[in-house]
Symmetry: C2
Amino acid sequence: MAEQQNQTVAAASKGMRIVIVGSGFGGMAAAKALKRAEAEITLVDRTNHHLFQPLLYQVATAALSPADIASASRAMLRHQSNISVLMAEVVRVDVESRIVHLAGGRDLPYDYLVLATGSAYSFFGHDEWARDALTLKSLADALTIRERLLGAFEKAEECGDPRLIAKLMTFVVVGAGPTGVELAGTIAELARSTLARDFKAIDTRSARIILCEAGDRVLSAFPKRLSDYAAKALASLGVELRLNAAVGEIDDEGLMIGEARIETSTVLWCAGTEARPAARWIGAEAARNGAVRVGGDCAVIGRPEIFVVGDAANMDDGSGGVLPGLAPVAKQQGAYVGKLLQARLAGRPAPGPFRYRNYGEMAIIGRSRAIADFGLFTLTGFPAWLAWSLVHLMLLIDFRSRTAVYINWSWAWFTYGRGARLLAGATRRGRSMSDD
Amino acid sequence: MAEQQNQTVAAASKGMRIVIVGSGFGGMAAAKALKRAEAEITLVDRTNHHLFQPLLYQVATAALSPADIASASRAMLRHQSNISVLMAEVVRVDVESRIVHLAGGRDLPYDYLVLATGSAYSFFGHDEWARDALTLKSLADALTIRERLLGAFEKAEECGDPRLIAKLMTFVVVGAGPTGVELAGTIAELARSTLARDFKAIDTRSARIILCEAGDRVLSAFPKRLSDYAAKALASLGVELRLNAAVGEIDDEGLMIGEARIETSTVLWCAGTEARPAARWIGAEAARNGAVRVGGDCAVIGRPEIFVVGDAANMDDGSGGVLPGLAPVAKQQGAYVGKLLQARLAGRPAPGPFRYRNYGEMAIIGRSRAIADFGLFTLTGFPAWLAWSLVHLMLLIDFRSRTAVYINWSWAWFTYGRGARLLAGATRRGRSMSDD
């Protein structure tokens, strides 16, 4: 009886259409977990690639090339004949007719929808700051930051005006979470070591790197002891740390930190994030940061055919809080939803509710400086850096990336050199100072 | 007596200022050859890097990353304490006062000036074609072409409109010199092999690659037998070759080839080049393509303190013709001028007139297809490809690039894969279809 019912379900599911929006960790994990699903799956993303976001700051700071940390999505899913990959923009979702509408007029009907749309940086109501503060979410963002960082030193070398030099060589990072700390630490290393021997008119070692944090410690998701280590490590790299510091009035000449005006041409915004489009598309209940509230099966309450995973989802962590917006959470949720759907389509019993397995958290501050929290024990300094490097190498998506990253890293480690120090003149904000 | 005179000259030359404009093969070779010159040398370029231009087509076709073929100029010259590197735009040269004027108002006085400003593609008086036809000279150009090529396939997969698909999957290359042949051959390989398994709605193997040439054979600088081989190799890759074909009326929907209109969204312009700014800056006599006529010592006639090298120079080849615009010519001329100036500043006798050493010419058509002309003998096919690969590997500027390129190549060779297949959404013509 049960078997007969299963067969019916399996037969009915043959023509099932699954649409996955987003090719980040969540969407890609869902797509891969649906490997054996008898369904027509479509993965839609605005870009053509899957991005290894934890290393994006290395592209922004000229240590790695885009191709080292990104792979074409359709190449990654080449061997899954049940999946089509589309590079397109979603404009809205019709939840009643179950249709995803794409820019350009094309429609994608679905039986199941998986939203893995991630998050974007938010400016706490000051959207005008987005004009002058740079954020780091996409490859285009990383290339823009790289262009601005390297361009600031080039311009300082060339301009001959002490006041302009001071402004160009002041870099302000807002928000001392993992991304802010990585960027501040790496920019300090770039200025103090990598570039130090290359400039003649300026001394890049005199660059100011200011890291502002509204809270009272850096990397506040980690135990206090690790935050304290990180603060010391940042100071030893020459980063000026400003805790309990509110920022305001960001323009293209500088910003306010507390009561003081700082002149700078580079503000990197790494403060709060929000998950905008998903909740709006499906008209679902959202948390304060815009993330869609989902049940234990990652499905939207009242919409069992719509799943939300990763940063776009707001899920109880079982102890009163919500799961954090981290790559492993997105990956595990995506894989969970993929397996759940595959089981459902095959008429097999669905798995129990999602459970996040926390294998530990790490943050890197710079060359041989990192922190790691594995629950049972913590690491700092070189051991943590080694753990961080090994884990991130292993996580990297395919062999090719692994090899290239490994070589670039080894090379940078031994030489303090940067292979990707290029100003191609192709930035998000138009051409800057470059070629025909 | 002669010794005394030499010492006087050497003493007088201590404060000599040499300005080199352009960090391509010519300018970089000049800078390096001036290693031991007692002078204040400034190398100015609009970009911050030296580019290994012979492999630029591989960036444009997603085989290599920008960092694989470019190095930061100031890093390359780090150990030469007599050189400053400036990233700046030259706006004009005052030849009477001997001053190079930079954008932004800064001046560079010189005693000797070396112009290595290269060449740009020219549209034979149809500058409006530059709006829609893409050229390949800089890293930014290569990234734009990569974005357009990959974007055309993505758009074709997504659009569902047969006529638009046909237009998107038609690629027209104008000019069958080395760059045109490389691009046409590599795009054909990309469509027929690399991408073939990745798309579902379209068959990338049905893409049309049309190579137009106004003359009666491809690669006309080579012996006829090699041209014939190249034409056959192109045909076997699926390139449609149109000889004696004039093109006209290029717009964003297509172009005219002879009497026929071809609908295409991608026109790559690899026809004539011209050397614009140098002659204009110094008011010197120029050849038809704008190159400055120089004497046997690379100096401008009547301006012994100004040297022009590489594509920007027009020099007799000693047998009635002029030296071609090739990387080895630029490199040898740059090194020659550097040595000449170093000798002059040291009060040593200057070398005799420049003599180009032709070590052979090569052109690559695709995977294991190339031609090579070494004067005494010629090669085609795999042996030529092997020679091409070895020579280009050896020529690559520093160890790091060499390693990364070697790995990318080996990997691409075994897998037909492309590591750099990324649409970052950061193109010369603004953001296209990408992230926040």
